[in-house]
């Protein structure tokens, strides 16, 4: 073969060799290690019932194995994961989240809350001092300068009110008030025992007298002057006086009733005074009950979201004991615009039994939430966009594994497309929540999404509240929506084991000062009385799942 032909042959072989690479690469490219297609318009499914939870899917390769994250009977986020293994080195997986009902409509109340007010909170010489101050203020406002009855020619100047002592005693199933007024001239009026029963009707706390009043005590210069000025005529005024002075009606009625005693038997005086006092106490309690009803009016908890609406209702009769008052509550949380996604009808209904707030005689307010209440709060945080904001905050981003933040895709933070739901498991380092469809960023036309479980634990120590988050399970894949189908393919699969190890190995902890958190709460109070909270304590526990929040409290 001549040199010329040899050269041509060599060039031809070289050209064929060069062309062979693109041909070979083209022939082996474009195949997914694992591909699952789900008929869906979104990156997730919502199934009101478990029987509707499994969509018809196409899976390649056929050897892919499917596993689910939740048990067959539980509502909540179900993570269906398909896996395909290529030797021991390459593990591929994709996950499809389905939110399984039943759901609680946003218009329904969730009765998973319990509030306990410690007995010391009603000690008017201590933490309840503000309550006595409020009563004193109201009495002074309503006190007339004199008791005038021109038709009877009775004019008695009203002495200045010097001191009001209010007492609240808690006993098994009952509340007892005592009231003592002391005037500047030395007059003293006292009701030693006002038995009151707390109840619940139509979601409103009811307050009513539960027994007879103890005989009132009225003594001093004012009584003597009334008797001297009006004599027997004053007896006719008992009913009228009651209506004039509101809270003082009790006293006025007793004053008048006592006037009868000038010429009548002592027992008759006592009965008359008691009857009038009872009437006025009942009237005052009805006013108090109306005030309680106003507490159930819709509230707007955040000024930045004026369309959000919170309503609170009493779930059952309060439990009164020597250590305090425990009030089971229901709450309705309506989320106004803007909303994250209307495809999710509401929080998942777990129908867990209510947990009781820890009973303590201390001057503290305690709030206990069961799993249903936690679901409601999580749903609110998600639907109102709070979780999305948190997921893109520096606080969370800096806590993420470096492998996730610096992975080769357009990372944009954590944006949950579904509300986290409570997961029942015995092996959790905190309150376990399943998260699904958490968008991490984009990879071309595909969205990188993560799913998994996050165990949230909260602990308090001195003046610090620490939130810890452990991620015992994390799954990542890509999803692309096209023509009514969601196409799931693996992505970041080779980084995932390392990120999974690092995230599961040690919890991320975030600490805040207790007073710093309390300062962010809106001002609590009524009628000029401030409820001051200090030393916030938060804890979580399982079996049953609950979150407890308590703080030292005092009325100022």
């Amino acid at each position: 073969m001549s040199r010329r032909y040899s050269t041509l042959l060599g060039l031809g072989l070289s050209g064929l060799g060069l062309l062979a690479l693109p041909v070979l690469v083209a022939g082996t490219s474009g195949r997914d290690d694992l591909m699952v297609e789900v008929p869906a318009e979104r990156r997730f499914s919502v199934a009101p019932l478990r029987s509707l939870a499994s969509p018809a899917v196409s899976v390649a390769p056929a050897r892919a194995v499917v596993r689910r994250a939740l048990g067959p009977a539980e509502p909540g986020l179900e993570l269906t994961t398909w896996t395909a293994d290529y030797g021991p080195a390459y593990h591929r997986e994709v996950t499809w989240p389905t939110l399984v009902g039943p759901f609680i409509d946003e218009d329904e109340f969730v009765c998973g809350y319990s509030v306990h007010a410690g007995a010391a909170l009603f000690d008017t010489a201590g933490a309840g001092r503000g309550l006595a101050a409020l009563l004193t203020r109201r009495l002074r406002e309503k006190l007339p300068p004199s008791l005038d009855f021109p038709e009877y020619d009775v004019h008695v100047p009203m002495p200045a009110l010097r001191r009001v002592e209010l007492g609240v005693r808690l006993g098994p199933g009952r509340v007892s008030f005592s009231l003592e007024l002391r005037f500047a001239d030395g007059t003293r009026f006292a009701l030693r025992r006002i038995p009151v029963k707390l109840g619940a009707a139509h979601g409103i706390l009811t307050v009513s007298r539960s027994g007879r009043l103890a005989p009132p005590i009225f003594e001093g210069p004012l009584r003597n002057r009334l008797l001297a000025e009006g004599g027997e005529r004053v007896a006719l005024l008992g009913g009228l006086l009651g209506g004039l002075f509101g809270p003082l009606g009790v006293m006025a009625g007793v004053i008048a009733g006592d006037g009868v005693g000038r010429d009548a038997a002592d027992s008759m005086i006592t009965r008359g005074a008691e009857a009038l006092a009872t009437e006025k106490v009942d009237e005052a309690l009805r006013e108090l009950a109306l005030g309680m009803a106003r507490l159930t009016q819709p509230l707007h908890p955040f000024s930045s979201r004026p369309e959000d609406e919170l309503m609170v209702a009493v779930a059952a009769e309060p439990a009164v004991s020597r250590s305090g008052i425990t009030l089971p509550l229901c709450a309705r949380l309506r989320v106004g615009a803007p909303r994250t996604d209307d495809a999710v009808p509401g929080p998942v209904a777990l129908n867990q039994p209510r947990v009781e707030a820890p009973s303590s005689p201390a001057a503290a307010l305690s709030l206990a939430l069961n799993a249903d209440a936690l679901e409601q709060l999580m749903f609110y945080l998600w639907q109102s966009g709070g979780l999305g904001q948190l997921g893109t905050s520096p606080l969370v981003l800096e806590g993420l594994a470096t492998e996730v933040r610096e992975a080769a895709f357009d990372f944009r933070g954590l944006r949950p497309g579904l509300p986290p739901t409570f997961a029942s498991t015995d092996h959790a380092s905190g309150l376990p929540f399943v998260v699904g469809d958490v968008a991490l960023g984009a990879m071309g036309a595909k969205t990188v999404v993560a799913h998994g479980r996050v165990d949230l634990g909260v602990a308090s120590d001195h003046d610090a509240v620490t939130l810890s988050a452990t991620v015992p399970d994390v799954r990542v894949n890509c999803v692309e929506l096209e023509g009514g189908r969601a196409r799931l393919t693996p992505c970041l699969a080779d980084l995932l084991p390392l990120a999974r190890d690092r995230m599961g190995a040690r919890p991320r902890a975030y600490a805040w000062g207790s007073s710093e958190l309390l300062a962010k709460l809106p001002a609590l109070g009524f009628e000029g009385v401030r409820l001051e909270l200090s030393t916030l304590r938060i804890s979580t526990s399982m079996n049953p799942a609950r979150l407890d929040v308590s703080a030292n409290a005092r009325f100022e």
Partner: protein, 119 residues
């Protein structure tokens, strides 16, 4: 042919040495199935890794032929002085190095183009 066989032998020895080193590292860290993990790309590659395996094998063959050709061509050139031998060797090394660098970049571009990574 001798040069071709030499390059292939070098490839085999080099690859075996890398696998041995990897096995030693994995064994020190207690990784199970160390050999199977290291050999996965050859034994059971996932579909997404096939283009890289094809590129690797193609590159080995291309380098085998190219390196042998360059060296033989330079070696067969007439040399009038002793320094010309050293010059030919140096020139061969430079050409081979340049070829390898160009081919590495080119083949990566080819694979990434088909993988969609250049969008």
């Amino acid at each position: 042919m001798g040069l071709t066989a030499s390059y292939l032998a070098t490839f085999v020895v080099f690859t075996a040495a890398m696998m041995f080193g990897g096995w030693a590292l994995y064994a020190a860290h207690g990784v199970r199935d160390a050999v199977a993990v290291i050999a996965s790309d050859f034994v059971e590659p996932p579909p997404s890794r096939l283009p890289y395996l094809v590129r690797g094998l193609w590159s080995v063959l291309a380098y085998t032929v190219a390196i042998a050709s360059v060296v033989v061509a330079k070696g067969r050139e007439e040399k009038e002085r002793a320094e010309a031998v050293t010059s030919a060797m140096t020139s061969s090394v430079m050409r081979v190095t340049l070829f390898v660098v160009v081919m590495e970049l080119l083949t990566v571009l080819v694979v990434r183009a088909w993988e969609g990574g250049l969008e």
